[in-house]
Symmetry: C2
Subunit: 260 residues, 2 copies
DNA sequence: CGATCCATTGAAAGATGTCAAGCGTAGTGG
DNA sequence: CCACTACGCTTGACATCTTTCAATGGATCG
């Protein structure tokens, strides 16, 4: 059974048979042969340890746009690795409005917010068709009791989430609308690099409204800033498709806040 | 030897001998008898486990205002619990300016940002005279291999830091200057409650400039907002001393963003 | 006592938000 | 298949909020 899902053009290219690598979208791919494992497992595990990990990872059918992976206040059960597609994490504040706390791309982990109170504080839902690896936490915890590297790795993942969030705090605290948007573009670009995709050309998985929500800006401001960046030839934008023409300049506009 | 340090009036009251409880500022207090242990150890450890933990905690002489606990890029070695006083965590962005990512009060933990790359990403320094419990991480890790509760607890601490940071992101992303400052006051108030101190009356450990840096506002804005809150009788402010007169109203101003 | 830091306040400028209008596209139902 | 609606996006004009600049006063420290 082949469970390939719809792909953006960039992603598809990588799955061309001529590449002679396993396709990341295959539901039955193992952790050992997953092209993303340098991201979600950036540690030196022995082959048989990887196999053990592989044994507890559950791969289910893909989420479609708008489908929830989990909801705030759901009981914490698993953490999840994004295999393809993209998701957003959102919280709902008391007065009812939604705040996006992060976008997550392939190779990245969501669900770490669930540990502190044994229930998730965010909801996570798909921005586009998205494939997921689910890692039931109690099994993982049991496994990581036996594999010391794995435990250490997990702590690092959490610490990474903390430092990423703090970079975002820094960005929101001090930067202009233009710097925020430049930073977001750089962030996506960098994360694409890690996945061996183009760092200069990519497609935004989220809407303008979502960008604005995430960065604390109105949609009109997002639209105007993108138009301004386009006009100054730093980037080219056609709907969701972005080409970064002048990365150096973009970094200057982002004002030293590299990514988040 | 008595190593009592200077205290704010509120804090001092609690150390009155008539209270018949161990004084939190005593360098030689044990984890088992520390009044803050419900904060930094909110778990059910057996008595002998607490003693083991106690054995690895190092209590050094207090930091004075401006002293660094650690600096960004220092090798990660320990996490730290604040025993008394207050510290701030700061990062320096590429273009050289400082961003405060958090204020930490007694019973709270700093240093969790150091795990991901084995070096700290923040610098942490004292806002006032501050006593610290240092917990060398390798010893802690070794200990938590043997005490399952402790490992789980540590993950919860990290997850808590993540959710706290995300609340702050939400605040910075969407709120007016007035809401940000109201939220900060509420946050300090709540954290004082946890420490069994007054939730309506306290002294700010940080300057207006630091408040502004943390909340993404200029010092003049901070000053004006505080004046406005005072004028509307929601709070009374004299220099660093704050009295919250109308908590309900303050919550409304904070606009549903409870704390962070 | 002078230097420095912190805080307050006013006036003006600048940035972002709000409101309103309009366009294109995708999805839906007749 | 078309019309209709909903949604996402863009752009202009104006309002509002926050910053910037400037002047001043109090507190602290050597």
């Amino acid at each position: 059974m082949n469970t390939h899902i719809e792909l953006s053009p960039i992603e598809t290219k990588k799955c061309d048979p001529s590449y002679n690598v396993p396709c990341i979208h295959d539901k039955h791919i193992s952790c050992g042969s997953c092209r993303l494992n340098t991201l979600c497992l950036p540690i030196s595990l022995h082959l048989d340890d990887i196999e053990k990990l592989d044994g507890i990872v559950q791969r289910s059918k893909p989420l479609h746009k708008g489908d929830y992976l989990y909801r705030a206040n759901d009981e914490f059960y698993s953490v999840f690795a994004i295999r393809s597609g993209a998701v957003k994490a959102v919280t709902i504040s008391e007065n009812g409005d939604e705040q996006i706390t992060g976008f997550y791309l392939p190779g990245e982990i969501v669900g770490l917010d669930g540990l502190s109170d044994n229930k998730y504080t965010n909801s996570v839902l798909a921005l586009e068709t998205t494939a997921i690896c689910e890692i039931p936490f109690h099994k993982f915890e049991e496994l990581s009791g036996r594999i010391l590297n794995l435990q250490r790795h997990f702590l690092q993942l959490m610490s990474r989430e903390i430092t990423d969030d703090q970079r975002l705090i820094s960005l929101l605290s001090k930067s202009s609308a233009e710097a925020r948007i430049a930073s977001l573009l750089i962030s996506i670009s960098n994360r694409n690099s890690l996945r061996h995709l183009s760092s200069n050309e990519f497609s935004l998985p989220m809407t303008r409204t979502e960008i604005g929500n995430f960065l604390g800006l109105r949609i009109e401001t997002v639209s105007r800033i993108l138009a301004r960046l386009q006009k100054s030839k730093v980037v080219s934008i056609d709907k969701k498709d972005v080409v970064i023409n002048d990365m150096k300049n973009l970094h200057q506009i982002a004002n030293g806040v590299e990514n988040f």
